[in-house]
């Protein structure tokens, strides 16, 4: 008899799978359908959402659904690449702080403090200005400002590991530090790193969207979701509510999907919550 109640592991895997389908939907949709968002059709201006046009059209008759898909793809792409860079910086610095001796540790801990000292958004504006704006500027800004928290986590994890008995015993069994790092430290740090990376995605995407909303970097030719919403701002007073509601909702749903994936992968990788 097939039971309909799934155990935790199966349910988690199903949720992760559903989120992955959503993302591939966005990417494939943007690839197939995104270019349509650039066609202006003056006979179909300012249409509210309806059949065939789920998100309505804007003041130039462009299909908002296609524009949203494309904007989402750009924003997700920026967020994902920035978060990945940031996580790798965190991995390297965290490992270095925990293994390369006291001086390096002091310097890196201090760098983390400096990185967390300025509000994220101010730092983002500063770095994106320093890079001269553009998609590149936003990626560098987000990547350069999100590593401190994860660095702290990885450093703490490795330091805790190094004081555990089996690792302290290992050198006496004739293992060299590299062997220990490869066979004892890495397997513990990789899950932490993966979860940290996944949970970094929502932050990175939201910050990238915020930065484009403020008008940093994106030219009108790369309509990221933030720039799209900033444009819609100007038409709010004319009562075209759908220009802001649907694209924003799509952004929230995709960011939340990343958050769900992150939390579920964490539950999967943590042996204590693996099967409940």
């Amino acid at each position: 008899m097939i039971s309909l109640t799934l155990d935790r592991r199966t349910r988690t895997l199903t949720i992760i799978f559903a989120c992955l389908i959503l993302f591939s939907g966005i990417f494939i949709g943007a690839w197939l359908y995104g270019e349509k968002g650039e066609i202006t059709n003056l006979t179909m201006r300012k249409l509210p959402p309806g059949w065939g046009l789920p998100f309505g059209t804007d003041w130039l008759g462009r299909d908002m659904f296609a524009r949203t898909l494309k904007g989402l793809r750009i924003s997700l792409g920026i967020g994902l690449s920035a978060a990945t860079c940031s996580a790798f910086i965190a991995l390297v610095l965290g490992l270095a702080a925990a293994t390369l001796g006291k001086t390096v540790d002091l310097v890196i801990t201090w760098l983390v403090d400096v990185g967390l000292a300025t509000p994220h958004l101010v730092l983002l504006i500063l770095i994106s200005f320093a890079c001269g704006g553009g998609a590149k500027g936003i990626i560098i800004a987000v990547a350069a400002s999100h590593w401190p928290a994860l660095t702290r986590i990885i450093r703490a994890e490795v330091i805790q590991l190094r004081s555990s008995d089996y690792i302290r015993l290992s050198p006496r069994l004739g293992r060299n530090p590299l062997w220990i790092a490869r066979h004892h430290l890495l397997p513990h740090v990789v899950p932490q790193f993966l979860v940290g990376l996944l949970l970094l995605f929502p932050h990175a995407i939201l910050h990238a969207a915020g930065l484009t909303f403020l008008g940093f970097g994106m030219s009108p030719h790369t309509p990221a979701i933030g720039a799209l919403l900033a444009e819609s701002m100007r038409y709010l007073s004319t009562g075209m509510w759908w220009l802001a509601v649907a694209p924003g909702l799509a952004l929230v749903v995709s960011v939340k999907a990343f958050d769900i994936i992150g939390n579920n992968v964490r539950a999967l990788l943590d042996p204590r919550t693996l099967r409940e």
């Binding site: 400096v114 509000p119 101010v122 929502p202 403020l214 919403l229 007073s237 009562g239």
Partner: protein
Amino acid sequence: MDSMYTMILRFFFYKTFRLIVLIAAVATISFIMVSHSPIDPVDAYVGPAMIRVSPEQREVIAKRWGLDKPAFERFGRWAGQLAKGNFGVSMIFNEPVLSVIGKRFVTSFWLMALAWSLSGSLGFILGLTAGAWENTLLDRGIRLYAYTMASTPTFWVGMLLLMAFSVELGWTPVCCAWPAGLSAEQATFWQRLHHLMLPAITLSLIGIAKITLHTREKVLEALQSDYAIFARAQGESTAGIVYRRALRNVALPAVTLQFASLGELFGGAVLAEQVFSYPGLGRATVEAGIRGDLPLLLGIVLFSTIFVFTGNLMADLIYHLVDPRIRTTSEGLS
């Protein structure tokens, strides 16, 4: 008692030293960053009028700002003036940076203060409720709200509220911090409150999420502690345990967290002020970034660093001074 005072003195001495080192580092790093920017400050300042400005005029502007000197020399002069408390003159406002920051911050301060206290108190109450009645429908609802808000962009919430309450219903003004045509001093208290209500609600709707989830965790922890179990064995109700036993234990980390999250509040204020055209420090930050006003941008970076530092310092202090467990031990303040 004597050792208590020397301890506090040492604590402040240590914190001041840290702040000075931090400011020096942030100032150096941000100066290096902006001086490597490919954006030419003169271009950014002139903006669309670029075609009408002759090369000679540009040279005059560059010379007046000292841009013809090498970066190293400029840094020396800027840092020297900074040490004397002179942040330079803002290019777009044509006013000393400190006076721009001062004025703008007062405007932002009321917005941030209202949002901060709203999100703090509401988030705390929601967290208590969710934690006390774990896994009920109420708890699930609160958790769903908090998790969703954690992945919602501040500016979008602002846009939705603006659309609903300002455009459709007309209850709140569409822009600014006081009625058009009046100056900040002429506007009455109610007019000011009327204008900052919606941005403040936007900020607190988002800000609630973190404090709620944090408080909920702490309540769950407290409810599993020996004193709570003992109280339950004596027949105390859940509400009674939360109100009489857990409340004080949970309040301290919540207050600390709220002080430590001033950085996020500042970032949120930048976005909210942009949506509601609220003339505070956040909008000044955006304008300085887009129009290349280097003195103002650097000034705001330093100012926001001090702002965040103060928040963390308050969190530290409250923790050390209020918590009796730390207060009595001498290692507390280090």
